[in-house]
């Protein structure tokens, strides 16, 4: 299936290659470079390219291209999903997925790739299994390794792969047994000029951090599971129980994982936590424009809005900005033409405002479209959909674990058209 993998940085250097079948010359990447040249923006490079003998499937993550070479028919999503899983694994192992980090840990990366694919077919992609085989590097361990000469590769052979629950290893032990769940909801919305909602929906995700001894069997139930319109689960969740009782029953993986993602239907009215008053205009003459943005709270359910941030992709003609922010500070990146206004906490008494003038390139025509505003925000202790976890029960083990649930609401793809 997957023949080879090339890692390419954004300047177009191939800095790592791995072949699972016969070696394919790296000149195959030339087709990709050609497409990249044409696309200008790295996001616009077509993920699937056809060359005379091969197919190239690429993903773009963290300023790196993961380019895989395919020779025969394979579902493209299969490859894309796998490449993202590779990137996730790197992230998990090294904390970030960047060129420098990968170069520094090239041997571990190579070992990981070797284990993840066999002859181009995925073998072990569960991070729990991988971690048993190849230990993630930590500062402590690297010090110990240099002193004692021991290695990163697990001495004991992994057993997780053999069990029926490949996501959990046997013999986990903790002194503090704890299980934390974060319910994170994101609001995706498009608001039009006048502030009416064109489209809004809520996407939620439950992230779990479970450190429990032995083989616990957990059951998580909700106060109002009817809210959930569409769900997808970690493979550990028993689908039958969800179908019949609307509870999540599962043997958790060890450590951090995403338990489920859900979608709250757009039929339910989505509460929009803030309103935005904006006025951006460009003048026909004088090569300048004016900008005035005010943000105020709307439906916040009595909580404070934090981490408020406004991002504006300005038209190319805008040379510089001369603005004053009543709260927070703003930056304007001349190269990318992105205006970022970091507001911080939203104070309902004194609404934050950003106003001033924009200066334009001389002679450039007036931009036809006003740039849209992307809003970022965070509300602690609130799930905007109203979803509530009612209880968490544990079976199979005798001890009593610490349990905790946290709710956060964020803005997802929250866009205001102007």
């Amino acid at each position: 299936m997957i023949h080879s993998l090339f890692l390419i940085n954004h300047t177009g250097d191939i800095f790592l290659e791995k072949h699972w079948k016969s070696v394919i010359s790296r000149s195959v990447c030339d087709y990709f470079f050609e497409a990249k040249e044409k696309a200008v923006d790295p996001e616009n490079v077509p993920p699937v390219l056809q060359t005379p003998h091969h197919y190239l499937i690429t993903i773009y993550r963290g300023k790196l291209f993961f380019l895989s070479v395919i020779q025969t028919e394979v579902p493209p999503l299969f490859v894309i999903e796998f490449l993202h899983r590779v990137a996730d694994t790197f992230q998990d192992y090294f904390g970030e997925c960047s060129e420098v980090i990968i170069k520094d840990n090239v041997v571990t990366v190579y070992e990981l790739l070797e284990e993840m694919l066999d002859n181009g077919f995925p073998l072990a992609t569960e991070s729990n299994v991988l971690k048993e085989m190849i230990r993630p590097p930590t500062i402590l361990r690297s010090v110990v390794n240099t002193l004692t000469g021991s290695s990163n590769v697990g001495d004991t052979l992994p057993t997780g792969q053999l069990s029926n629950i490949p996501w959990r290893r046997a013999g986990v032990k903790y002194t503090n047994n704890e299980a934390y769940f974060d319910v994170i909801e994101e609001i995706d919305a498009i608001l039009d000029k006048s502030g009416t909602t064109v489209f809004a929906e809520i996407q939620g995700v439950i992230e779990a951090c479970v450190r429990l001894t032995g083989m616990p069997d957990l059951t998580l139930s909700f106060m109002n599971p009817r809210l959930l319109d569409d769900v997808s689960f970690h493979p550990c969740v028993r689908f039958k129980r969800w179908e019949s009782e609307r509870v999540l029953s599962f043997i958790p993986p060890d450590g951090n994982f995403t338990l489920m993602t859900y979608h709250v239907s757009s039929q339910n009215l989505v509460a929009i936590p803030v309103y935005v008053k904006q006025n951006i205009s460009f003048f026909e003459t004088g090569n300048c424009g004016r900008l005035d943005i005010t943000i105020g709270p709307k439906q916040t359910m009595g909580k404070t809005v934090e981490g408020l941030m406004v991002t504006v992709h300005m038209p190319k003609a805008v040379l510089s900005t001369n603005l004053t922010a009543s709260q927070g500070n703003y930056t304007y990146d001349l190269a990318t033409k992105v205006l970022v206004w970091d507001v911080g906490k939203l104070n309902p008494q004194k609404l934050p405002n950003l106003r001033g003038s924009l200066s334009m390139q001389a002679g450039a025509p007036k931009p036809e479209e006003n740039p849209s505003l992307n809003i970022d925000l965070k509300i602690q202790q609130l799930a905007i959909s109203g979803l509530k976890v009612s209880r968490l029960d544990m079976y199979g083990e005798k001890y009593k674990p610490f349990k905790g649930v946290k709710y956060v609401t964020k803005a997802g793809k929250f866009q205001v058209r102007t």
Binding site: P75, V198, E201, D230, V231, S232, S266
Partner: protein, 890 residues
């Protein structure tokens, strides 16, 4: 350092070597030093040596052999993980000499106690197959054995091996079908994808089309009934209702009852829509799309919309598939319309795809909302996207009559846009729209004529010129003026514009020769000396055609008819139309071209293949006793390796080719229509030339054989519709000739056609599979008198058995739509050792799809299929010598 005694030094050395490999540097000269360490105790060193070995073994085959014994020892290790890893590395070494060792190791591992080792064995199968395809038969046996494995660990890997080695051996799945369905949910996610894709294909060959009755009823009805329940019970209810409704309908027709196994597959895959893995969700979605009854397909929409939240690459693929689905099942995604709204931060390729989906979803009820969205998009800074939006508006306008005027007005307003690209795109789209009802919009044409002064984009200029030329009667005053201006700037124009100027000149000359005669002459003279030969050609051609001289032939009389014929309005179609003949979610679908190793999704069978269903064992079919079992039911399906049964392999290639060709043709056709009628005509000219060439070739052949035949249809898809009339004209006249020659019916009797030695014989049934009966067939290239459209297939039956065979006849003919078969007369008795011949006729509809049928004797039935090789699809026609000469001279 590698020779050192210390593991830490060795490790350090290996790490450096691996880093070199990773950077793509050549480290092959270190091979001898590295191979020595293969038996090293330190696990990490060992692993790195394996990495090295697998990478370079191919280049240093002899030295690599040194390491083999270590792995062989490893294969016997009591620890299952060591056994597995030894097998893994051993099978990864691509050295042909060790093929027998590998084969042995795989066979052993396939019956290992540990499922993990068996999984590794399954992984090793495709590796060995790619190294030495001749091992196929043996490997199939191993696959067969592993398919019977009941553990989830093995299932995914073995199906993957099955897909790579022998995807055509659908018969191997029967016994394991139910087991695979039941295990599916517990298989690891990558295995799930492979299994689901394979089962989709399987189900297409084994079950009946659940929509067969609906499709007859609802043909043409735009609003399909679909259901989007969030609730399982409700869903079940709805299903029940649907069933009842269906049942009522079906009482009149042949009743359709879903095979319980079909239902099992649908039921067991549904939960996987909830998987976190996008590939699994997509696999299930395509399964439902291809297999589920219409009423149930709706459930996949929600899951697919969910994937739109994922990475942009995933979005890209999903949107492509959604775009295809929306064409067939629009209703399914309508409630999710807003999820396809475009954000200014989306990458352009995503925007364009979303636009495509929105356009496909547009109908009378939601068009106003969609158009309002489009209005926002038009102002976007991303100009490519704006251009795509304008195209989309054009498509909405053609599809939905009520909004046509609104759209047109909107587009006309865009003509005053400052951005040239936008204007150009609008012009092109307006041109297409105007073609539908030109009478009403002469003012728009006038407006556009004024634009020629400003617009510089060649395509747009060409479009305007074409419009003016085409509808010069609506704007009699302006047209000559435009021509005058264009004549002035002729030399500076792009080729495409020049062609249109000539075109315009010709048309004006024909309608209004008084005013434009001189101008036309001038333009043609300019064109005569143009650098581009196309333009020179065109000028010469048009001059001959329109300027009456004593030499000019009969055609110039019809010049006006040729140029000013009513042209059909272009049909603005989605580029995703007809893509669904590729299996959704596949690479081929994404590229809209057949990728290597793509397994065509077969059409539904017309009747359920009953005898096979009986073999679809439940959970409990035992693996080990399977061997004799297997042998038995392989019998009727033809010998292993021969691509007979199912006809999977080469089956539909030409079909898909012609489809994609015509698809792209229609696309390019609609784009090209800007260049107007002349291009079509010249195309015709060149086409017919090609035609002649082909004919000539054929004629050479004919001469050699001294048989007078005429190919009526080329196998290649006709590249242009203009070709067909020529063709039918010929064939018609030939058919009448044929009738005149009065053939006796005796052709049917076997004796009439003696097998010609030049003809190639194909094997239909081998004597071993046929239990003594062997059948060969050849395309006799003789006319098949009962039906002129059929190809005569001469079959030669030989009875090699010791007993007589009676009542040889054929049954249960399964054909692609449109194909027909004339069966051969029953052979009542074929004594042992004797040979008999019979002739049957098959109308392949000019495709190379196989005709499948059962060959029955008084005791047995054999599944056989006849696939015509490309060269054999011809219709023999008798010509007199004179006619032949006439044809040759034509």
């Amino acid at each position: 350092m590698l020779d050192s005694n210390k593991d830490s030094l060795k490790l350090e050395a290996m790490k450096r070597i691996v880093a070199m490999i990773a950077r793509g540097k050549n480290a092959s000269d270190l091979f001898p030093a590295v191979v020595k360490n293969v038996a090293c105790k330190n696990i990490e060193v060992k692993k790195l040596v394996y990495v090295y070995l697998v990478r370079y073994a191919e280049e240093q085959q002899d030295l690599a052999l040194l390491s083999i014994s270590t792995f062989q020892r490893g294969l016997k290790d009591p620890n299952q993980l060591i056994r597995a890893s030894a097998l893994r590395v051993l099978s990864s070494i691509r050295v042909t000499i060790i093929v027998p060792i590998m084969m042995l190791a795989i066979k052993e591992a396939a019956s290992d106690m540990s499922p993990y080792v068996r999984k590794t064995a399954a992984h090793a199968i495709p590796k060995l197959y790619s190294l030495d395809p001749e091992q196929k038969d043996q490997l199939i046996e191993v696959i067969e054995k592993l398919l019977a494995d009941k553990t989830t660990l093995v299932a995914g890997s073995v199906v993957m091996a099955f897909e790579e080695v022998c995807p055509e051996r659908i018969d191997l799945i029967h016994k394991n079908y139910r087991k695979l369905c039941n295990l599916l949910i517990d298989v690891e996610e990558w295995g799930q994808v492979v299994i689901i894709n394979m089962l989709t294909r399987y189900a297409r060959t084994q079950f009946l089309n659940p929509n067969i009755n609906e499709s007859l009823l609802e043909e043409g009805g735009g609003g399909e009934k679909t259901f989007y329940g969030s609730d399982e019970e409700e869903d079940e209810d709805e299903e029940e209702k649907e069933k009842k409704a269906e049942a009522a309908v079906m009482a009149k027709r042949k009743p359709y009852v879903m095979d319980p196994d079909h239902r099992l597959l649908l039921r067991n895959t549904k939960p996987l829509l909830q998987s976190r893995n996008a590939a699994v969700v997509m696999a299930v979605a395509q399964l439902y799309f291809h297999l589920a009854p219409k009423a149930e397909v709706g459930v996949i929409a929600k899951a697919l919309v969910r994937l739109l939240r994922s990475h942009s690459e995933v979005q890209y693929v999903v949107l492509q598939n959604v775009a295809t689905m929306t064409i067939k099942r629009r209703g399914m995604f309508e409630p999710y319309l807003k999820s396809f709204y475009i954000r200014s931060t989306d990458p352009t390729q995503i925007k364009v795809l979303k636009l495509e989906v929105l356009t496909n979803l547009a109908n009378e009820t939601n068009i106003s909302t969609i158009l309002r969205e489009f209005q926002t998009y038009i102002k976007s800074m991303d100009k490519d996207f704006v251009a795509a939006t304008i195209q989309a508006i054009g498509r909405c306008a053609t599809n939905i009559g009520e909004v046509r005027d609104t759209c047109l007005n909107g587009l006309v307003q865009l003509l005053s846009n400052r951005d040239e690209l936008v204007v150009a795109e609008s012009v092109v789209v307006i041109k297409k729209l105007l073609q539908m009802q030109p009478e009403k919009h002469s003012d728009i044409i006038k407006h556009m004529a004024k634009l020629t002064d400003n617009i510089q984009v060649p395509m747009a200029r060409a479009s305007i010129l074409w419009l003016i030329g085409e509808y010069c009667e609506h704007v009699p005053k302006i047209a000559p003026d435009v021509l005058r201006k264009m004549a002035k700037s002729f030399t500076n124009e792009e080729d495409i514009v020049k062609l249109q100027i000539i075109n315009l000149a010709a048309k004006l000359y024909l309608t209004n020769s008084k005013q434009t005669k001189l101008l036309t002459q001038y333009v043609l003279n300019l064109a005569k000396y143009d650098q581009n030969y196309d333009i020179r050609d065109r000028a010469r051609f048009i001059r001959q055609l329109i300027v009456p001289t004593e030499k000019s032939g009969a055609l110039s009389k019809y010049a006006k008819k040729l140029f000013l014929a009513l042209k059909p309005a272009p049909v603005l179609e989605s580029p995703f139309k007809d893509r669904d003949h590729f299996q959704l979610g596949s690479l081929s679908h994404l590229l809209n071209a057949k990728a290597g190793g793509y397994q065509e999704l077969p059409d539904w069978p017309e009747a359920a293949p009953d005898p096979l269903r009986a073999q679809r064992g439940g959970e409990g079919v035992c693996a080990c006793s399977g061997n004799s079992n297997i042998q038995r039911h392989r019998g009727p399906l033809g010998s292993p390796g021969a691509p007979k049964d199912g006809g999977e392999q080469g089956l539909l290639l030409p079909q898909s080719k012609s489809d994609s060709a015509s698809g792209s043709e229609s696309a390019s056709g609609s784009e090209e229509s800007g260049s107007g009628s002349e291009s079509e005509e010249s195309e015709e000219g060149s086409e017919s030339e090609e035609e002649e060439e082909e004919e000539e070739e054929e004629k050479d052949k004919k001469k050699k054989k001294k048989e007078i035949k005429k190919p009526v249809q080329e196998i290649e898809p006709a590249p242009s519709p203009q070709v067909t009339p020529v063709n039918t004209f010929l064939s018609n006249s030939l058919v009448t000739d044929l009738e005149g020659l009065s053939l006796s019916d005796s052709v049917l009797s076997p004796a009439a056609i003696a097998p010609s030695s030049a003809l190639k014989n194909y094997e239909l049934l081998h004597r071993i599979t046929g239990e003594g009966l062997s059948v060969e067939y050849c395309f006799s290239r003789q006319p098949f008198s009962p039906d002129g459209n059929m190809v005569a297939v001469q079959m030669q039956f030989t009875n090699n058995a010791t007993s007589d065979t009676k009542n040889l006849h054929m049954e249960d003919v399964k054909l692609q739509s449109g194909m027909r078969v004339k069966e051969f007369p029953e052979i009542e008795l074929l004594p042992a050792g004797e040979t008999a011949t019979a002739v049957m006729g098959i109308d392949f509809c000019d495709s190379t799809q196989a005709a499948n049928f059962q060959l029955c004797t008084h005791t047995r039935k054999f599944f056989v299929s006849i696939q015509p090789p490309v060269g054999e699809l011809m219709r023999p026609v008798f010509l007199t010598e004179n006619e032949f000469k006439k044809e040759q001279g034509a």
